[in-house]
Structures are given as structure tokens and as C-alpha cells.
């Protein structure tokens, strides 16, 4: 925890890339909770997937006189000049999610590792329940390096268990539920032998699963693996869908929490690592109940359990490895 002796910034501005996404909703929730604990005012501006708007939002924050900026880049290259300008104005800045040239620090999960461990778990499951066969349909999102890393990690992880695992269809599902559904329908029509569906986020895995169901196929012999644990959707799926067995939890609340702590440190000029890793872990079957509880339509995070998940010291692979 942050020491009470530290100077607290009065106001933190967070420019999120896409506030309406459940993942970021929960990141923001984590930030707000932490900020409230520390008596900091937190304001959020949404870039709504528009890089220009993101730069404008950060400019507005600087004009408003916030003490620290947190940014989840819409695109990691597109905020390089912004970082330069913030530095010129001595504006402390923390990044979330993606590294940017010239940054001080970033709070992020290890996307590759997240996919990788889910892949390992999937390989084990396939050995036990699917006769060791792994024909994967990846409902991916080439748009973002983070999501590409997850897919890559997943395939690498599954191959550690089943070396002959194949990626039979590599799709761009746009990260959207309806687009994921549509492209998966076509791919499933072409490849009848798919038996594992991997999605880079919950929308993607669920889109793939729904396409499967709409094609009138039984879920026997199918494994669906999702990523994120972003909201309620995956819980619902794990409870009701027989094939939805693995979810790579990324604990967005924890990311938000950690980002605020990092912001305080940067504000105080403390030394911080370049990459502050936020933990992830595969959840298999009913594991999710360890980390979350659901009441009505709100979920609550079980901090003790989440804080018990040890983050990696260093990511196995990062965006830099994609180039």
C-alpha cells in the first residue's frame, strides 16, 4: 500500500481509450476505489477509440491543472508527442496497458503470458477431455498489439502440452460480439474440425461460442477459452455453457488500483520500475468464485485472493517482440 506519509496529488486525470468497454469500466472502478481511499479526486475523459480525441483530452487535463495523468493509449505510437509535451511541462504521467517510447512507467498485465498460461491450461484440458486433439479457432484482434500477444501466447502455451496443436483459423473478430459471431460462423462452416475456440476478450470467445451454437452443433467435445474476465458475461457463460471451461483472468480492478498507486509514486518523484506488472491467471471451471462474487448484476472483487496472485517479474514477450 502507499505510505500515508507521502504527498498526495489532489487530482488525477485519466484518459481512457474506450470507457464504455466493460474492461475499462472495471479499470476505472478500481482507480476510483483506490483514489477514494487516498482522498484523491479522479477525473476520467474518454477517447472513445479516437486518437486525436485522446490527445485533446490530455491537453484539456493539463489546462485544467491535474497533478498526474494516467493514459491508456488508443495507440501506443500515437501518444509519443503527447508524452514529450507532458515531460516539457513536468506533468507526471503513468501509462496503462501499452508501453510508449519515452515513458516513465507503465502499469500493465503481461498479455503474452496471460494467453500462454491459458494455452497451457487448455492443452491440459484437451489431453484429458478432447483426446489430445487441439484444432484452434482464434477469434483475434490484429488491431492491437496486446491482443495479438494474447493469441500468440495461447498457441505457444497449448503447444507445450500438445505439440501438434494447430491454428486452423485465425480470425479478426474486431473485439466486438456481433462481428466475432459473424466471422466465426463463416470459419466454422469451413472448418468442421475446430474443437477449441480462443477469444482475445470475452466478446470474442462468446461470439465464437454463439456461432457454434447457431450452427446447430452440440458442445460436446468443444472447449472455449476466453480472456479478460471483464464483466459478468464470462461468469454467466461458465455457469451455463458446458464448453466454456477456461477464462484467463486479467483483474481490471487490480490494474486500476495499481495505476493510482503508481501515479502517487510518480507524483512524489519516487523511483518506479518501467513496467509494473499486474497479475493474471487462468481460471478453470468454478475457479472464478475464488476471485469474484456476484450479487444481482454487480460483481465484487475478492481483494485478498487477487492480491495473492503473484505477478510475473518480467513478461515473457512484449509488443517489442512483435516488430
Amino acid at each position: 500500500g502507499a505510505a500515508a506519509a507521502e504527498n498526495m496529488p489532489k487530482k488525477i486525470g485519466y484518459v481512457v481509450n474506450y470507457a464504455t468497454h466493460e474492461w475499462y469500466q472495471n479499470v476505472i472502478k478500481g482507480m476510483k476505489d483506490r483514489a477514494a481511499q487516498l482522498g484523491i479526486e479522479l477525473e476520467v475523459k474518454d477517447a472513445n477509440l479516437d486518437v486525436a480525441k485522446q490527445v485533446a483530452g490530455a491537453e484539456d487535463f493539463m489546462a485544467q491543472g491535474v497533478d498526474v495523468l494516467i493514459i491508456t493509449p488508443v495507440n501506443e505510437e500515437g501518444v509519443v508527442p503527447l508524452l514529450r509535451r507532458a515531460k516539457a511541462e513536468n506533468m507526471p504521467l503513468v501509462l496503462e496497458g501499452n508501453p510508449v517510447k519515452g515513458m516513465t512507467t507503465m502499469v500493465a498485465i503481461c498479455d503474452y503470458d496471460t494467453g500462454y498460461h491459458a494455452g497451457v491450461a487448455a492443452g491440459q484440458y484437451a489431453k484429458e477431455h478432447l483426446g489430445g486433439v487441439a484444432k484452434v479457432m482464434n477469434v483475434g484482434l490484429p488491431l492491437l498489439s496486446a491482443t495479438v500477444l494474447r493469441s500468440n501466447g495461447f498457441m505457444d502455451g497449448i503447444k507445450t502440452e500438445i505439440p501438434e496443436a494447430t491454428l486452423v483459423h485465425d480470425l479478426d473478430g474486431g473485439g466486438n460480439p456481433d462481428r466475432a459471431l459473424e466471422v466465426s460462423s463463416a470459419a466454422l462452416a469451413q472448418n468442421a474440425d475446430v474443437n477449441i475456440i480462443y477469444g482475445i476478450n470475452d466478446n470474442s470467445s462468446l461470439g465464437g461460442l454463439q456461432a457454434w451454437k447457431a450452427a446447430g452443433k452440440s458442445q460436446d467435445g468443444l472447449l472455449v477459452v476466453g480472456t479478460g474476465g471483464e464483466g459478468l458475461a464470462f461468469i454467466n457463460a461458465m455457469e451455463t455453457e458446458p464448453s466454456y471451461k477456461i477464462e484467463a483472468a486479467m483483474f481490471p480492478e487490480k490494474v486500476g488500483f495499481t495505476a493510482v498507486d503508481a501515479a502517487v509514486k510518480v507524483f512524489n518523484g519516487e523511483a518506479v520500475p518501467e513496467h509494473i506488472v499486474s497479475p493474471t491467471t487462468p481460471m478453470i471451471g468454478a475457479d472464478w468464485k475464488k476471485y469474484y462474487s456476484v450479487e444481482g448484476t454487480t460483481r465484487s472483487i475478492n481483494w485478498d485472493a487477487v492480491n495473492g496472485v503473484k505477478p510475473a517479474d518480467k513478461c515473457m514477450k512484449t509488443a517489442a517482440d512483435l516488430k
Partner: protein, 330 residues
């Protein structure tokens, strides 16, 4: 009642200018803009600071510059929605060439070359082949965006050489106060406003949009006029794209998504008619500024994006409806 010839001949400019002004919706837009500014100035203590106002001008520069082109195409009776992808696409030659040659000028030349090519293609397909321009530019919107994704493999291309001149273009401030993009936008606005009002070709744009048949009978080359409008629009989108690339320090494949909507909404809000022949750059500029100040002001008040969208949508409907009502009264 028509006035007598002699009375008007005596005073050619005075009364007609006043009457023209009174009827113009620019006045209403200006009042709306002032009302918006006044409201936020009262509601937020950080809104009415030089820093914030100049920020907004800098942010408005992109839609302003591209809006000039879109307005010109609208005035000529056509539409151009390809600009959203074009602003992203031109950054590719710009950044790639700068990375390879370390020359800002060569990069800009490359960007302009691509912009020109897109304008020529749009113009040729729409004006010379006669394909509906919404279809053409919707097509190029898709093609360019897809092309950007294909070319970049959906990775942004970073600026490796970091030329200071390039950085300053989008991020620097004149006298440390006015953002360079705002300066460029104002210069372009004045130049094109002059061009539309005082050059025969500018009037041809209005005539061709107002009534192409009449324009043809008056001896205009309607196709060529429209063709040029598309080229102008593409070149202005190119300039906007260069400014954007400088602000982003890279060629970002997702830049400009939905930019065409933003600009079209502002242009129409500014009173530039979709059916051609009507509208002014002043109106367009006011439309852009109103939307930009609303978005900035709501942000200053810490109003959530959800509400910002709802409020902006409501403002657009109210403003256009008000303008229409006023017109019917008149």
C-alpha cells in the same frame, strides 16, 4: 415589393449587405457559439483561460481544415466522406519517407502526392464517370482504411527520425500562445473564403451546386468544376492529416475513424446544405467551433462521455431545427 431600380443603383452595397447579414444563419450560429462559451465560462472556472481556449482552437484546427474541403464539395453539389480514412492514409507516405530521407519536405510531398491521387480518383469517378459521390467516397473510405490496415499490418508506423520541424508543426505554438494548427487553419479559412467569394471559380462552385443545368448553360464545365472540388477536398484533408500525424508523431492506422461523421455534422450544422449551392466557410467554421467547445466544456465539467454524446446529439437537432424554423418564419 421590388424596389425601384434607381434607388438601388444609388446605394449598391449598404442596405443589401445589411439585409444579407440579417438573413444569414452565420449570425445565429455566432450567437449560439457565444452562448455556449458564456455558459461554460460561468459553469467552470478552468474553461475561460487562455490556455484552454487556445487548446480548443488547436483541436478544432483539424476539422476546420478538412471542413473547408468538405464544405466546398457540398457547395458543388456532391459529398465527400472519404476524408476519415484519408487523414490516416496520408501519414503513411509522410512518415515512411521522413524516416527514409530525414526530410520533412519530401515527406510532405509524398503525403500531398497521395492526397492528390485520391482526390483525382474521387473526382474522376464522381464528376467524369458520373457515379454518385456518396457511393464513390464511401467506397474510397473503405478502400483506404482497408489499404492502411493491409499496408501497415495494423501496426502504427513510428516516427524514427523525430524532426523538430515536424514536431513543431502540430505541437508548437506561435509566440508560445496560439497552436500552429490553429494558425494554419485560420490562414486557410481566410484564403478559401476569399477564393469562394471573389474568384470566378469560387462562384462556379456555387453555381454548379446550385443548379448544374443552369451552370452548364452558362458555359461552365460542370464536370471539371466538381472534379476540382474533390481534389481541393482531398488536399485539405491531406493537410489535416499531416497536422494530425505531427500531433500523433506517427502514422496511426486507426487515426481518423469516424472523422468524416464529425466533419459532416459540423459542416451541416454550419448551414452548408447537402443539396449544394448553399453555405459559407464562416458558417462551417462556427459549426466546428460550437461542437468543439461543447465537447471541451462538457469535459471541463467532468460530464461523462455518455451524456456528452446525448447532449451533442440534442444540440445538433435543436440547432438545425431552429435554423429551419427561422428560415420558415422569414
Amino acid at each position: 415589393m421590388p424596389q425601384s431600380v434607381s434607388s438601388l443603383a444609388a446605394a449598391p452595397a449598404g442596405p443589401s449587405l445589411l439585409r444579407r447579414l440579417a438573413r444569414r444563419n452565420e449570425i445565429a450560429l455566432l450567437l449560439s457559439l457565444l452562448a455556449v462559451i458564456a455558459f461554460f465560462a460561468l459553469a467552470s472556472d478552468t474553461f475561460l483561460t487562455t490556455r484552454n481556449l487556445t487548446n480548443v482552437l488547436g483541436q478544432a484546427a483539424l476539422p476546420l481544415v478538412a471542413g473547408i474541403g468538405v464544405a466546398i464539395v457540398f457547395i458543388s453539389g456532391e459529398v465527400d466522406v472519404s476524408i476519415g480514412s484519408l487523414v490516416a492514409a496520408i501519414a503513411i507516405p509522410l512518415i515512411t519517407i521522413m524516416n527514409a530521407t530525414e526530410s520533412f519536405a519530401l515527406g510532405v510531398a509524398g503525403a500531398l502526392a497521395l492526397g492528390l491521387a485520391v482526390g483525382v480518383v474521387n473526382g474522376y469517378l464522381a464528376a467524369y464517370l458520373g457515379i454518385n459521390s456518396l457511393i464513390v467516397t464511401l467506397g474510397t473510405l473503405f478502400i483506404l482504411r482497408g489499404g492502411v490496415y493491409l499496408y501497415t499490418g495494423q501496426r502504427a508506423i513510428p516516427d524514427d527520425v523525430m524532426l523538430e520541424s515536424f514536431f513543431q508543426l502540430g505541437n508548437g505554438r506561435l509566440f508560445g500562445v496560439v497552436p500552429h494548427p490553429a494558425v494554419i487553419a485560420v490562414i486557410l479559412l481566410i484564403a478559401f473564403a476569399y477564393f469562394l467569394r471573389h474568384r470566378p471559380f469560387g462562384r462556379q462552385l456555387y453555381a454548379v451546386g446550385g443548379n448544374p443545368e443552369v451552370a452548364r448553360l452558362a458555359g461552365y464545365n460542370v464536370r471539371r468544376v466538381k472534379f476540382v472540388a474533390f481534389v481541393i477536398s482531398a488536399l485539405l484533408a491531406t493537410i489535416a492529416g499531416i497536422l494530425l500525424a505531427s500531433r500523433l508523431g506517427s502514422a496511426v492506422h486507426v487515426a481518423g475513424l469516424g472523422f468524416e461523421f464529425q466533419v459532416v455534422a459540423a459542416v451541416v450544422l454550419g448551414g452548408v446544405s447537402l443539396s449544394g449551392g448553399v453555405g459559407s466557410l464562416a458558417g462551417m467554421a462556427l459549426g466546428v467551433l460550437i461542437l468543439q467547445f461543447v465537447s471541451n466544456g462538457l469535459g471541463m465539467l467532468n460530464i461523462a462521455t455518455e451524456w456528452q454524446l446525448v447532449i451533442t446529439g440534442g444540440i445538433i437537432i435543436a440547432a438545425v431545427a431552429f435554423d429551419e424554423l427561422k428560415r420558415r418564419r422569414a
